[in-house]
Amino acid sequence: MATTTSDALPHKETTIKPAVPLSPLVLGVRRFRRHRMAMIGLGLLVVLILYISFAGLASRGYCAPLKQDVTGEAWANCNDTHLKLQPPSADHIFGTDVIGRDIFARTVYGGQISMFIGVSAALMEVILGALVGAIAAYYGGWIDSLLMRFTEAMLNIPSLFLLIIGAHFFGNKLPSFNILGRELTGGVIIIILIIGATSWMYLARIVRANVLSLRERDYVSASRALGATDSRIIFLHLLPNTIAPLIVSATLGVANAILSEAYVSFLGLGVQGATATWGNMLDGAYRYLETAPWLWFFPGTLILLTVLGINFVGDGLRDALDPYSTKHV
């Protein structure tokens, strides 16, 4: 590349480091940092991540049913039915829910699960989308037709319906399990799989379009001539060169997965049991629209802020990494 420091760096540094070509990564980071919305979004996300990581330290209190002081997640799951539907107060700053659990503590631990669901489902989306897209484009022929007809068919079924049916069929059929010292209901894994399985289609089409043009490049022919295997070409040459849409989709996918989890849980088909998520804290909350608005206001607002932050960052990433792509919004 002909780009040198002299025309891209601030004037101060040009005299110190002459003629070092900037990597696309450095350029991308630079463009991202100039994106005002993206930096606001990033700040918002950092605050939210700090909240779900460390606000649990303030989660402690006297749990009457257990007759002892508890901390952490035990406090989030302590249901004192004498204290049900308490409005926000000094003891319960976000109030209590229908069976008397502290909503503040539940937003902290539920947030961790919601983030976990969001990130894992987005990861699954990216893996599925990249694999389907790359395989379809690389092999072409009947494999391409088969995979793309399937992708189009999936795209034409509104994914919320697929989510609802999937959640209804497979929901809560896995036993609870332990991860990182925490008890998680199997429903968490089910919901991740369902969201991942219903969201990869757009990405598959983007990756396919990119790989279709990339596979004709000389470096692909060269490495094939050197005897590289198909999987080496796909994973080492083709997919790394479509990294920009992959990163952007992964980021926005986290927001969509958190929203999807919330929709499904809101309809009462999401993660059940003691494990809190931002979504299942909203389950049934609309019945208390008038009497207990704090039930839905706090988890709902946290979802809104997270999605907002991720959308800002995703938008900035798209502008920074993928300057030629058209914006959707």
Partner: protein, 343 residues
């Protein structure tokens, strides 16, 4: 043109077949709908067995799919379980307009959907009109005053609107305009249903009950679309023919409405055409919250009862709508934009 439409329809048929296979496979995961039948007084095992044979659920899945698709009225089926087929089949299959009967109500699926569809369409069409008018208005306003205070405020608001979960918006609107307005003694809006039982089924009641669901459905779409309109109008306004028109002394309003808007509206039409059927899906949550007796509610109610002929019906109709709207959008696009040639 007509060959193009025919070819597109020809492509749509295998696509819909693939969709139906995917959906039917998914339905198998429901398990046995008869097993959970009659929660309070469950039928005897031999009755369940007979019911299963009556509904054709004893057949392997691929036979069930073929029966669903093309029917079984040319063959005899074994109804009394002695291994000898004796009763002629009744089903005509989807291809001949028989979408089967609901397992719950025993009514034809199409009839039940037909009862609910007008309610959903009423919400959808009103919302779509509001969406189109407001996003064009907001987008145009922003594009004509880019980076002004109002434009920046609208940009911020649209980002928030775009990130809002539907249920959060619905609950907020209900809390403000129904709960708090009543508390403050202001004229408040109703929250659930289509009519107030005490007042009766008057058009005024219907409109009052539609305001909040329509607002919920449209606000999020307006947030996204108005940004889209803004950027395409801005792009068109920088074109040479706009500068020429202005240089000739054409009034700004005329330039915008006659030259800029039609060109900027083209991609907007595509976007709307492709999104309309998906708006139908977005109604699931809205209809649930506002207790609106539409298709979304029907879908949720029958998911809980594993009523798969019903679910297949709803999902296939929506998928057909998606495919048809794709074709319509492309055809319409070539009509309004003479630069596009369809072959």
């Amino acid at each position: 043109m007509s060959t193009y439409i025919l070819r597109r329809l020809g492509q749509a048929i295998p696509q819909l077949l693939i969709i139906s296979v995917i959906l039917f496979t998914l339905m198998q995961a429901f398990g046995d709908p008869v097993a959970t039948l009659g929660a309070r007084n469950p039928p005897k095992p031999e009755d369940k067995e007979r019911l299963r044979r009556m509904l054709g659920l004893d057949q392997p899945p691929y036979i069930q799919y073929l029966t669903w698709l093309v029917g079984n009225d040319w063959q005899k089926i074994d109804m009394n379980g002695d291994g000898i087929p004796e009763t002629p089949g009744q089903r005509k299959g989807v291809l001949r307009g028989d979408w089967g009967n609901s397992l719950v109500t025993r009514q034809p699926v199409l009839e039940m959907i037909g009862q609910r569809l007008p309610n959903t369409l009423m919400l959808m069409i009103t919302a779509e009109i509001v969406i189109i008018i407001l996003s064009l208005a907001i987008g145009l306003y922003s594009a004509l005053r880019p980076y002004s205070l109002v434009d920046n405020l609208l940009t911020g608001a649209s980002f928030i609107g775009y990130s809002m979960p539907v249920f959060w918006l619905a609950l907020m609107l209900m809390y403000i305009f129904a709960v708090n307005f009543r508390k403050w003694g202001l004229p408040y809006l109703p929250t659930v249903g289509m009519f107030e039982p005490a007042v009766g089924k008057t058009p005024a009641e219907l409109i009052k009950h539609m305001i909040l669901p329509v607002a919920t459905l449209s606000i999020i779409s307006i947030a996204g679309y108005s940004r889209f309109v803004r950027s395409s109008v801005l792009e068109v306004l920088s074109q040479d023919y706009i500068r020429t028109a202005r240089a000739k002394g054409v009034r700004t309003l005329y330039v915008v409405l006659r030259h800029a808007l039609p060109n900027a509206a083209l991609p907007f039409i595509t976007l709307i055409g492709l999104d309309i059927p998906f708006l139908l899906a977005g109604a699931v949550v809205t209809e649930r919250i506002f207790a609106w007796p539409g298709m979304g509610r029907l879908f949720l109610d029958h998911t809980e009862r594993a009523d798969f002929p019903m679910l297949m019906g709803i999902l296939m109709l929506i998928s057909i709508a998606v495919v048809i709207f794709q074709i319509l959008t492309d055809v319409f696009y070539s009509f309004v934009d003479p630069r596009i040639r369809l072959e």
